[in-house]
């Protein structure tokens, strides 16, 4: 968030934050004064009784203020911008005109936008759902019985891939995949000289993102597997269940909630991911132009802010739908 606010951040956000903080301080003072009384009065109703409607609102207000300033306002602003022909430079930068829904109509008829949707879908399914979640689970599953330095070493390596800054990682991968003197071509015998990023662009960024993000789901699934009561597995084993049957009938149903949470978070992250740009710039021939790159290209590189905002609004809507679907499934099944 801080990076997003950029150099202009100090103006409105700081004012809002300071105001919210000042407002919250007395409320928390009251709460702590009353806390002993609540404890004496009875545990079960503590919060509601002491805070009351006003106190609770005061607690929530700063958070709501921040959400409003940083989330709701930009979203509405994006929607408004999407209805104009605003540009980065030229006359349409000084005096943007209201153009109704024509940006949205244009998006739906733009073959490059449809291409971008398709590319994004492949990228999310390939690198988030199958790649990161799958590899993360595989790692957690394989490591569950292990202890000691080998396990720690593997975990540290996987987590390193996750925490190194994106630009550094991109540089390493470009060096790895380079056609002329790349590490991968050097490792492959013969004089291959394959330009991986040009010949297999989509596969490259899927493998890249899988490698990069498997740590999160590994950690999440590792914790989930550790929390399984050993007696369940023991019982299954005594009943003669094979490893596959244990996985399917005992483990997966027990950690269903974890799987859905991991899928929700990872697919949303991946959907919004800009890092492939650092490897391929969306090319060649738009084969890796996922939606964030498409938006960057039309809004910033080509300067079509209005059109870019319209696509951003569409993307926001897709995000919301995906999140709602996951949350519904999560609610039903746990």
């Amino acid at each position: 968030m801080s990076a997003g606010a950029g150099p202009k951040a100090p103006q409105t956000p700081a004012g809002g934050g300071a105001g919210g903080g000042a407002g919250a301080a007395p409320a928390s003072q009251d709460a702590s004064d009353d806390a002993p009384a609540a404890a004496a009065g009875g545990q079960e109703t503590a919060g509601a009784v002491v805070l009351g409607r006003g106190g609770a609102s005061a607690f929530v207000a700063p958070a709501l203020g921040l959400v409003g300033v940083f989330l709701i306002f930009p979203a509405l602003w994006t929607l408004y911008l999407g209805l104009t022909n605003a540009r980065l430079t030229g006359l349409a930068a000084a005096e943007p005109q209201f153009v109704g829904l024509s940006n949205f109509v244009r998006a739906l008829t733009d073959p490059l936008f449809r291409n971008s949707l398709k590319v994004t879908a492949i990228f999310v399914v390939g690198s988030a759902v199958v790649g990161q979640t799958g590899l993360g689970f595989l790692l957690a599953w394989s490591l569950r019985g292990w202890r000691g330095p080998v396990r720690s070493a593997i975990e540290v390596l996987v987590i390193l891939a996750w925490i190194i800054p994106g630009s550094v990682v991109a540089f390493l991968w470009i060096a790895l995949l380079d056609g002329r003197s790349g590490t991968l071509n050097t490792l492959i015998p013969g004089d291959g000289g394959i330009e991986w990023l040009l010949r297999y662009p989509m596969a490259s960024i899927i493998v890249f993102n899988t490698w990069r993000g498997a740590a999160f789901s590994m950690l999440l699934f590792g914790a989930a597997l550790a929390s399984l009561p050993p007696s369940h597995l023991e019982t299954a084993r005594l009943a003669g269940a094979s490893a596959w049957q244990q996985l399917r009938d005992v483990i997966l149903p027990s950690i269903r909630g974890h799987i859905l949470t991991a899928l929700l978070l990872i697919s949303l992250w991946t959907f919004n991911l800009f890092t492939p740009y650092l490897l391929t710039r969306g090319g060649p021939n738009f084969q890796t132009e996922v939606l964030p790159i498409y938006i960057y290209r039309v809004a910033i590189s080509s300067g079509q802010l209005g059109y870019g905002a319209a696509i951003s609004a569409i993307m926001l809507a897709i995000n919301l739908v995906v999140a709602l679907v996951y949350l519904n499934v999560l609610k039903d099944k746990t």
């Binding site: 980065l88 930068a93 890092t275």
Partner: protein, 473 residues
């Protein structure tokens, strides 16, 4: 991962902010500056200058010159007047398109450096957006008294003028030529004083080189969107001019026979393997082509004198060639056949102009102007061309020993500039240019044939400039 989300948010919020500034801002700031004449400020002053130049990288020499010479000299001159002025350089070493986007975002948000390195052909769109203001408005009528205006030819100064108002000081101009590796030519049995007079002779030479050494890519003529403006100005335009057509002549050139001819030339050389399509698609294709030329893996390429002085310069270059003067030759770009070029010319070229402008949001317009005019002074530019000769906007500096005695600059000044073509300074130009890059890329990458690509191009630019402003056949 969170990194990338942040990146996205940054893009979104920057877009939002820039619009907020473009729509809502402006008004009050303008009011403040209208009435008052900018005056020298008492007390310490810090001004900044932004250039797409970075020490050890792109335009290394410009960055070094600013840090080692221009900034200290200017600061001392100010100190001699009893004024405490500090100048800071904001370095960038990025693609020109990205640099332009950065400037547009900075200026739209009311931010940015006080003095800005600029490309002349961006002026029109920045002025109509309200990002730049006339110098007389930012600084005052005092700018008309500057001694330099008399030294800058009308045509060159005109590149920084909109509606009779000056927006900045032109720095230099350039010209496109064919560069070739004499050593590779010698190996292939070609003459070292090569001067092709038609496209066929270029293609012949390329075939000979390919035969002599299949590992060498004979030709590099920029042809993709990832090369950006380089594809337009030192790729497509010199070829198009060789057919007798111009990109803009009363209206924008659409899907005409000359357009097809020019695109057809690209198809010929790329289909035959005389040039490398993969290189055009790479994100770092342009740098890679420079590197290949410096190692002799590319034999012939079209570039401006920028290649000579900044890229393969034995001292400061990005990809230096130690014995540059012996192994690199340069020659004029021929038209399709003698007399077939624009204005009936045998040879063609294209030129652009660099400049510096003032940020209207500057807190210290007086000091910023003094620094800007110092950078354009005879003293400063003469010092600049000592280390890296180039054709400047000033006639007195161009007459100096350093420029006049440089082989390529005198060649460009005498042979190329008289036949060159300048980019049209229209607001729509950059969008048309992008459409053009896509057309060439589609053909080079084998995605569409020549007629389809040209028809697509015409449809695209009709959407940008209006069908009534497109020359159709």
């Amino acid at each position: 991962m969170s990194n990338s989300i942040r990146h996205l948010l940054a893009v979104v919020s920057v877009v939002g902010m820039s619009l907020a500034a473009a729509c809502g801002g402006g008004g009050s700031e303008q009011g403040e500056q209208d009435g008052e004449q900018a005056a020298a400020t008492d007390g310490p002053v810090t001004i900044t200058i932004a250039e797409n130049a970075v020490r050890g990288g792109k335009n290394d020499y410009t960055a070094q010159w600013l840090i080692d010479y221009a900034i200290p000299t200017f600061t001392e001159q100010m100190a001699a007047d009893g004024r405490d002025v500090t100048v800071k350089l904001v370095e960038s070493g990025i693609d020109d398109e990205d640099y332009k986007s950065r400037l547009a975002l900075d200026l739209s948000a009311g931010e940015g450096a006080d003095v800005i390195g600029f490309d002349g052909f961006w002026l029109s769109e920045f002025v109509t957006a309200g990002y730049l203001k006339p110098l007389t408005e930012v600084v005052g009528p005092v700018i008309d008294d500057w001694e330099g205006w008399e030294q800058i030819p009308e045509a060159v100064a005109g590149s920084l003028v909109v509606d009779d108002q000056r927006y900045g000081i032109p720095v230099g101009t350039d010209g496109r030529v064919l560069f070739f590796r004499k050593d590779v030519f010698a190996d292939a049995g070609l003459p070292e004083d090569w001067q092709p007079t038609s496209w066929d002779e270029i293609i012949e030479a390329a075939r000979t080189i390919k035969e002599a050494d299949p590992d060498v890519t004979p030709l590099q003529i920029n042809a993709g969107t990832s090369m950006g403006e380089a594809t337009t100005l030192q790729g497509f335009v010199p070829i198009l001019l060789g057919t007798g057509a111009e990109l803009y002549d009363q209206a924008w050139l659409g899907d005409t026979p000359q357009m097809l001819e020019a695109v057809g030339f690209f198809q010929t050389i790329y289909d035959e393997g005389l040039a490398d399509p993969q290189l055009q698609l790479r994100a770092d294709g342009r740098d890679r082509s420079f590197q290949d030329f410096s190692t002799g893996r590319i034999a012939i390429l079209i570039e401006s004198d920028y290649l000579w002085r900044s890229v393969i310069n034995p001292g400061e270059g990005l990809f230096p060639i130690e014995n540059r003067d012996e192994v690199v030759g340069f020659t004029k770009i021929p038209a399709r056949e003698p007399g077939a070029g624009i204005r009936g010319q045998d040879f063609v070229s294209a030129s652009g102009g660099t400049a510096r402008v003032l940020n209207p949001n500057t807190d210290y317009p007086q000091e910023a102007w003094e620094f800007l005019s110092f950078l354009g002074s005879e003293e400063a530019l003469t010092e600049f061309v000592q280390g890296e000769p180039r054709i400047t906007a000033r006639e007195d500096v161009n007459a100096s020993e350093a420029v006049a005695s440089d082989p390529i600059l005198s060649f460009i000044a005498e042979e190329v500039l008289p036949i060159t073509w300048y980019r049209p300074g229209f607001e729509e130009y950059p969008q048309v240019s992008e459409a053009l890059q896509r057309m060439v890329e589609n053909v080079v990458a084998g995605r569409s044939d020549v007629p389809t690509a040209a028809a697509e191009y015409e449809a695209t630019i009709s959407g940008i400039v209006g069908a009534e402003n497109v020359i159709q056949e």
